[in-house]
Amino acid sequence: MDIRKTFLEWPVVRQLTGSDPLGRGAAVQSKRSRSLEPRTTTADRMVQSVCPYCAVGCGQRVFVRDERVVQIEGDPDSPISRGRLCPKGSASEQLVNSPRRATTMLYRRPRSTSWERIGVEQATDMIADRMVESRRKRWQDTDEHGRPLRRTMGIASLGGATLDNEENYLIKKLFTALGAIQIENQARI
């Protein structure tokens, strides 16, 4: 390290030699302050998105660095929101990165008092088994007049309104094909 340079960087020296004798501005700026850059510009990429909270559909810009979301803010391009967000929309980054967010698959056995961990694949298999079984067990082929029902009453679903259209579509398609009809949504609540 260059001692002389370090000395000249000493704010007292900068005060005495520069344009800021009282040491309230330029003379006392730290190196870090000088090289500060917002994470919106240091991000690897920006992805345009839509706020998940309400039905206004505000535009969001999602900034990603090292495959991690580092910032979510309003998208000024959006003609609806013009870059603005409400408190919930502004908290989107926390929604995504919250340390409290549940990211592990959990399973609770009948009568158990606690969760246990299982794999997603295994859990999906277990559900597929149960769907097939419940469907068969609760199958109604016809009504009392012999008219076709072709349905199962053993499986129901309630979806939130933060599901994508594509997700709702697959859900409706799959359940309808299975003959499950009690498929509902927050739109009714």
Binding site: L95, A102, L170
Partner: protein, 913 residues
């Protein structure tokens, strides 16, 4: 809305609010629930528009309104009716618009009898079933054409009427009429014109009645009437904004109808700065009804078929829309065939009715509340909760949780460990001893879900606009999108059934279930959207995306999963992902995202021009007929056949789109008109009539009928109702409470109570009470209060505030209590608390099966609630004191002469002149 105009979506777009000259916000707390959308109200205000807020609570919306008027929760129809009365009595309606574009001139059947004549119910009411036979509500002349299968089949004909009626449901089209020929009197003088019927119906909705029922002074009513009429007409427009403050009532649909009638009379529909802005609550509520995860609908508002009348495709289609009626809904066959082709591909052929029989059939109400009751009866094994938290967010939380404890298996997919995932160990019923963790047999699977930045897809926001959100990062840990989960689940189920010869497994094995996947095996959302949009299957364009639903064919040569979304992939391009900056476009911003139908931003915009196709005024020009180009042009995509001139008149016997005149702006309606009067399509009346909420400390002064006679009641021991005024024990529950949301939280809290930044802003459940009520009950600011209904008692911190005003109603002072419903009992969230929704019972609107969760009666006591089993005893004691039985509050035709004895026969006597 579907019943009034033909489609269920918001009629305009948010930015267009700034063009309004007056904005009435009623049944909505827009500034708090849609803050960013509210900027357009502020823009309008800055330009001089008058902003009026009518709501039980002085909210952050009221704080910015020019005028705030407190109203008793559940009395909106009286207020709206009085505005209608004012408009009609003072000839303030937009005459030219009303005559040309509404059904005002249409004659109503002689059989129709209004509520005034029948002591509180419309003609056709059956007190035994609590339903209407709506045939007497028809237009004059329609009854001359008997329905195809309705002849003498008793119960079935009713079912079919209901089913056809259900088409309006939040929907994409108007209700069916048998044909387009109706009798009209353009002078509006005939006593059976809709206009005169309406005038008579609302004559009783006087300022005095408003004061008596709503607690609103005549001057305030007059102020609003003058504001909305002065700001409507050729030069000016008024917009009406509502949200769940209206829909969460047993008269929910009719409240919206009330504003629709006003907006039609004032000529505000289809015009810039006008319309009805239905504010959906959540990111894709609109989308989840368009592509419904709802029991009674298929994509594009096609009804789910019902056993009996819908056994075959032809029968089904005949029920949806008569081929003789006007409008685009006559193309229902095309839309249905395309859906079936999209789902069952080659297995759907003309020979097998395109596999129509693969669709399971309904037999009644299979809605979420009916489902929960089935759970309690152990009729349901498995339940999926997909980003939904019914333990907190649904009415009667206790019933929800007890129901879930009856399941064999429960799948919860969410971002956080919500209360519905942990009810078995930390729900309120564990504390009261009603449930024991060790006794609950339910297997629970908790799947961490992907957030919106971890998946591609579209949300459809409140103005029917689809916006694509791009995936930014991979989901963390075990998290995955619902798209990936269901795709995988479907594959696994298909694997298990592979080779099955069982006929019942055909629909699942024949299902088109093959989407391109990425390197993680996740299906492509864009491919799914493309399927929704639809493609040509054969011909030279085979494989290409459809550009509009007009390209759909009913012969199986095209397929499309949701006809109203056709065009979102026009030209093979994902139109929902368009993001041309708003500042580079006009205020309509047609190149941002994509709105159904066909990217139209203001619906029925043909009405923005006069019958001759000229703008009503320069100031409000929007879409007009260009004589030179011989087509409709303007700022938006015309919601009309673009080359059909204003002068077009349909030839004799025309039907479908060809039957629409050049001045029929409501192209999805069976007669091309906006419906002031709904001759069909609604189950509880052709015009809104005021009924008290299911639980009310006030007697209905308008009719000898307390509450909506068609509301769905569930008289069960676990669903007791508070007595309403006039019933024994009503004084035990003297107060009205209403629930609402706060800016700082998200519905049941699954996306807010886990976040420190939001939780710190509203950390605790509180109740808003007036200083007067605080005095009356000894409530201390920032202390505790216990709120009690027949279902349960909950505790909340007390917020004494001048923002809540007791209203003089029905000769007494009615106190209202405000309860934000975001909190729930559990151990996982950062902030927890009792849930306001636990207070409600289950009582539903007959039309859409939405619960009444905006208003009910209650008692309030100072201090905290009892804990553990004592809580149950505390509430039971209330029930005893109020003398609550299964009958309490659940009598549909009430009060009525001799309602207590032989109600049925007497009721029929009254109903039959």
């Amino acid at each position: 809305m579907g019943a009034s105009f033909g489609r269920g979506g918001a009629t305009g777009f948010l930015q267009d609010l700034e063009k309004a000259d007056c904005i009435v916000i009623q049944g909505s707390n827009m500034a708090e629930c849609h803050p960013v959308g509210f900027q357009w109200v502020m823009e309008a205000k800055a330009r001089g528009a008058r902003v009026i807020h009518i709501d039980p609570r002085f909210s952050r919306t009221s704080a910015q309104a020019d005028t705030y008027i407190p109203i008793r929760a559940g009395s909106d129809i009286v207020f709206l009716g009085a505005v209608i009365n004012y408009i009609l009595s003072n000839d303030k309606y937009f005459h030219e618009y009303v005559v040309a574009y509404t059904n005002a001139a249409t004659l109503v059947s002689e059989d129709f009898k209004d509520v005034d004549e029948l002591d509180g119910v419309f003609s056709g009411y059956d007190p035994e079933t609590g339903t209407y036979d709506t045939s007497s509500w028809a237009y004059d002349g329609v009854s001359d054409h008997p329905q195809g299968d309705a002849g003498g089949q008793g119960a079935e004909s009713e079912e079919s009427a209901s089913e056809r009626a259900a088409g309006h449901e939040l929907g994409g089209h108007g209700a069916a009429l048998e044909h387009a020929e109706v009798k009209r009197d353009e002078t509006l003088q005939h006593p059976r014109t809709v206009f005169q019927v309406l005038k008579r119906h609302y004559a009783r909705y006087t300022p005095e009645m408003v004061q008596e029922v709503c607690g609103i002074a005549p001057e305030q009513l007059l102020d609003v009437c003058e504001a909305v009429t002065a700001n409507s007409g050729r030069e000016r427009t008024t917009c009406w904004v509502y949200s769940v403050g209206w829909t969460h009532h047993t008269t929910g649909v009719q409240g919206i109808r009330g504003s629709a009638i006003i907006q039609l009379l004032l000529g505000n529909m289809g015009r810039p700065g006008g319309g009805i802005m239905a504010l959906r609550g959540h990111a894709s509520i609109q989308g989840s009804t368009d592509i419904p995860t709802l029991f009674n609908l298929l994509p594009g508002y096609l009804p789910m078929p019902k056993v009996g009348p819908h056994d075959s495709l032809d029968e089904y289609l005949k029920e949806i829309a008569s081929p003789d009626q006007k409008g685009f809904w006559t193309n229902a066959r095309t839309y249905t065939v395309n859906l079936l082709k999209a789902w069952w591909g080659d297995a759907a052929t003309a020979e097998n009715d395109f596999a129509f029989h693969y669709i399971p059939k309904l037999t009644g109400d299979h809605g979420t509340y009916a489902t929960v009751m089935s759970m309690l009866d152990d009729e349901i094994d498995g339940y999926f909760l997909l980003g939904q938290n019914p333990a907190v967010g649904s009415a009667h939380g206790r019933m929800q949780r007890l129901g879930m404890a009856h399941l064999k298996w429960l799948v919860v997919r969410d971002l956080n460990l919500i209360e519905s995932a942990t009810f078995w160990k930390d729900g309120p019923e564990i504390e009261t001893g009603e449930l024991r963790t060790e006794d609950i047999d339910t297997e629970v699977f908790f799947f961490p879900a992907a957030s919106h930045v971890e998946k591609d897809g579209t949300f459809t926001q409140t103005q029917r606009m689809l916006q694509w959100h791009h995936k930014a990062v991979e989901p963390p840990g075990d998290a995955q999108s619902d798209l990936a989960f269901f795709y995988l689940l479907g594959q696994k189920i298909r694997d298990r059934l592979a080779g099955s010869t069982d006929e019942r497994d055909r629909p699942i094995l024949d299902l088109t279930w093959d989407y391109p996947v990425d390197e993680h095996g996740d299906p492509s959302a864009e491919a799914v959207l493309r399927e929704i949009n639809g493609v040509h299957l054969t011909g030279e364009k085979a494989g290409q995306a459809l550009n509009t639903f007009n390209e759909m064919k009913d012969d199986g040569s095209t397929a499309g999963g949701c006809w109203i979304y056709t065009g979102v992939f026009a030209d093979g391009v994902n139109q929902a992902a368009r993001r041309k900056p708003g500042r580079e476009q006009n205020w309509v911003a047609p190149e941002w995202g994509w709105a159904w139908p066909l990217n139209r931003r203001i619906l029925y915009n043909r009405a923005a021009a006069d019958p001759d196709g000229k703008p009503w005024s320069e100031r409000k020009a929007y879409v007009w007929w260009d004589e030179v180009e011989q087509k409709w042009v303007g700022h938006d995509v015309p919601d009309f056949e673009v080359a059909k001139p204003p002068s077009y008149r349909p030839p004799e016997g025309a039907s479908g789109p060809a039957a629409l005149s050049g001045d029929d702006p409501f192209i999805m309606q069976a007669d091309g008109k906006g419906w002031l009067y709904a001759p069909t399509g609604l189950l509880d009346g052709p015009m809104p009539a005021h009924y008290e909420p299911h639980e009310s400390p006030v007697t209905n002064p308008l009719y000898n009928q307390q509450a909506n006679p068609t509301r769905q009641v569930f008289p069960r021991p676990d669903n007791p109702s508070n007595p309403s005024n006039g019933e024994r024990g009503a004084e035990i529950f003297p107060y009205v409470f209403t629930t609402y949301r706060l800016t700082e939280h998200h519905t049941a809290g699954g996306m807010s109570r886990w976040l420190p930044y939001l939780s710190e802003l509203q950390p605790e459940f509180f109740c808003e009470v007036s200083p007067e009520l605080a005095r009356e009950r000894g409530l201390v600011h920032n202390g505790w209060a216990t709120i009690v209904t027949a279902r349960t008692a909950i505790e909340a911190r007390v917020m004494v505030t001048d923002r809540v005003v007791p209203l003089p109603v029905g000769g007494k002072l009615i106190h209202q209590v405000g309860l934000p419903y975001h909190w729930g009992v559990g151990n996982e969230a950062l902030v927890t608390g009792d849930s306001a929704n636990d207070l409600f019972g289950v009582t539903l609107d007959a039309n859409v099966h939405i619960q009444e969760s905006k208003v009910a009666s209650c008692d309030v006591q100072p201090g905290r609630r009892p804990r553990g089993p004592e809580l149950l005893e505390f509430v039971a004691d209330y029930r005893r004191r109020a003398g609550i039985t299964l009958e309490t509050g659940n009598k549909l035709r009430y009060p009525h002469s001799d309602a207590t004895t032989g109600a049925d026969t007497d009721g029929q006597g009254e109903g039959t002149p």
